[in-house]
């Protein structure tokens, strides 16, 4: 089986067994990779294999439709009026972007490969960041990260404030108004529905099955396995096709790794971007910005103590002098 967690091995043994073999049987693997690379599952997407048939998009809806929102209408009046409703319930069939009813869609890019105009298709969904801002910065804890790296938004807790969307580098979580907890609290004044996005079929994975989009793909575009192995595989593939990698370091690293025959800068220019249509540009590690200040928090109390000590020393010296 080696490092490849093949589809069959995954199905036969379930994730736990597959990951156990992968992480446990390679000597030194534990020391060489961070903890998240052993516990977090990543997917590899070989863009050159995708034929854009859309079977994955259909499979996603088929499998996850029962999780889709069922909003009550009319919606509560929003106060102040600036807070607008996001209603996709009449546009559930839209498949050319991410919506609360479409967690995966196919991007098209016309690029030049060896002087030949080639049409590439790219399945896009949540990247499942290693340190996901949507999860870490959710002010209620409605977004959560599972030990296997899946980030998902709990529809029972989410208030639809859309902060996760604002901090997501790829504009992934999408809002539907008229559902969720906010209806029971102060529907006019706080919250605005529930955010929806790919949950990487967490329930299927729990049951030892593959995510629907991976299972349905006739071209085996996606591979899933422990992150360290997926990264290795991505590098191998990139070497073979002389290609490029996206997701290894973007936003500090994601659990969705694309390999493309053309540079991602070119792809990013070629794809249509906008609301619900994620880019393929560089993405710096935003969580790291403030995290570096943690060191200051460790030093700060020491500085405070030193300042107090100096003052105490001066004070005792002065009172001795005057005595």
């Amino acid at each position: 089986m080696g490092q490849d967690i093949s589809r069959r091995a995954f199905l036969k043994g379930g994730f736990a067994a597959a990951a156990g073999v992968a992480a446990g049987s390679i000597p030194g693997a534990a020391a060489a990779v961070g903890p998240e690379e052993q516990t977090q599952l990543a997917t590899l997407l070989d863009i050159s294999k995708c034929i854009g048939c859309g079977a994955c998009v259909e499979a996603c809806t088929e499998t996850n439709a029962r999780k889709y929102p069922n909003p009550k209408k009319p919606f509560p009046k929003m106060v102040p009026a600036r807070a607008r409703v996001s209603d996709w319930s009449d546009k559930q069939d839209v498949t050319e972007r991410l919506t609360p009813y479409n967690w995966l869609y196919i991007q098209h890019a016309s690029v030049d490969i060896n002087g030949e105009e080639t049409e590439l298709t790219i399945p896009r969904r949540c990247m499942h960041c290693v340190n996901p801002p949507c999860v870490k910065l959710c002010p209620w804890g409605a977004a959560k990260q599972l030990e296997n790296g899946i980030s998902r938004i709990d529809p029972e807790i989410c208030l639809g404030g859309s902060k996760c969307n604002a901090v997501c580098p790829w504009d992934i979580p999408q809002r539907q108004t008229g559902v969720g907890l906010y209806l029971d609290i102060l529907p006019n004044f706080a919250g605005n529905g529930v955010m929806f996005k790919c949950d990487r079929c967490y329930d299927q994975i729990e049951a030892g099955q593959l995510p629907a989009c991976i299972e349905a793909c006739p071209e085996d575009v996606q591979t899933i396995g422990p992150r360290a192995d997926i990264i290795k595989q991505a590098h191998k593939l990139a070497r073979e096709i002389n290609g490029y990698i996206y997701g290894e370091t973007e936003n500090g690293g994601t659990n969705t790794v694309y390999v493309s025959p053309v540079p991602f800068e070119e792809l990013d220019v070629a794809i249509e971007k906008g609301k619900g249509k994620p880019h393929l540009a560089a993405a710096s590690d935003r969580m790291a910005d403030a995290n570096t200040l943690a060191a200051a928090m460790v030093i700060a109390p020491l500085a405070g103590i030193a300042a107090a000590a100096r003052k105490i020393y001066n004070y005792t010296r002065k009172s001795k002098e005057r005595a």
Partner: protein
């Protein structure tokens, strides 16, 4: 004894500027802390000229972190000074103890947040929800108690 009292008065003047810094920091923490929730844009606060940055979650988070470091320094300074220098003359009032405990709660939950935000998974989702509610809860009670103390002129310490 008299000279000691004189020096203490002097140190109190120094403490006054420290108190202003403390109040300013707490205000800034509350402002940027509430900025962690998506409310300033909805309620037009970030429309006020000069307050636009309050709608940027990355900026408010950075300032909240920097303010936390400053707050920790001030608290450590005040605490050491009180225990070693002032305790003989001044004692904590009940409202002082209450505010101290609340501040401790804020700091402890805040530090756990900071740990949580590193790329490690140490806390369960349930614990993170509890953290959110308790950080916010401590903050709300702390601010209300401070308001009460401001109105009724309650101080942290009083002369023994």
């Amino acid at each position: 004894m008299k000279t000691a009292a004189v020096t203490l008065t002097h140190s109190n003047r120094q403490n006054r500027s420290m108190r202003y810094l403390y109040v300013l920091t707490v205000f800034c923490m509350a402002l940027t802390g509430f900025g962690q929730m998506p409310i300033y844009k909805r309620y037009y606060l970030s429309d006020i000229p000069g307050f636009g940055w309050l709608a940027n979650f990355w900026t408010t988070r950075y300032v909240h972190y920097a303010g936390a470091a400053l707050l920790l320094a001030i608290v450590a300074y005040m605490l050491v000074q009180h225990v070693i220098l002032l305790r003989a003359r001044f004692k904590m009032t009940p409202s002082g103890y209450l505010r101290g405990i609340l501040l401790l709660g804020i700091v402890l939950t805040g530090v756990l947040f900071v740990i949580k935000n590193f790329p490690v998974l140490v806390f369960s989702p349930e614990f993170i929800i509890a953290l959110n509610l308790s950080h916010l809860g401590f903050v709300m009670i702390f601010l209300l108690v401070n308001l009460y103390c401001l109105i009724f002129k309650k101080r942290w310490t009083k002369a023994r």
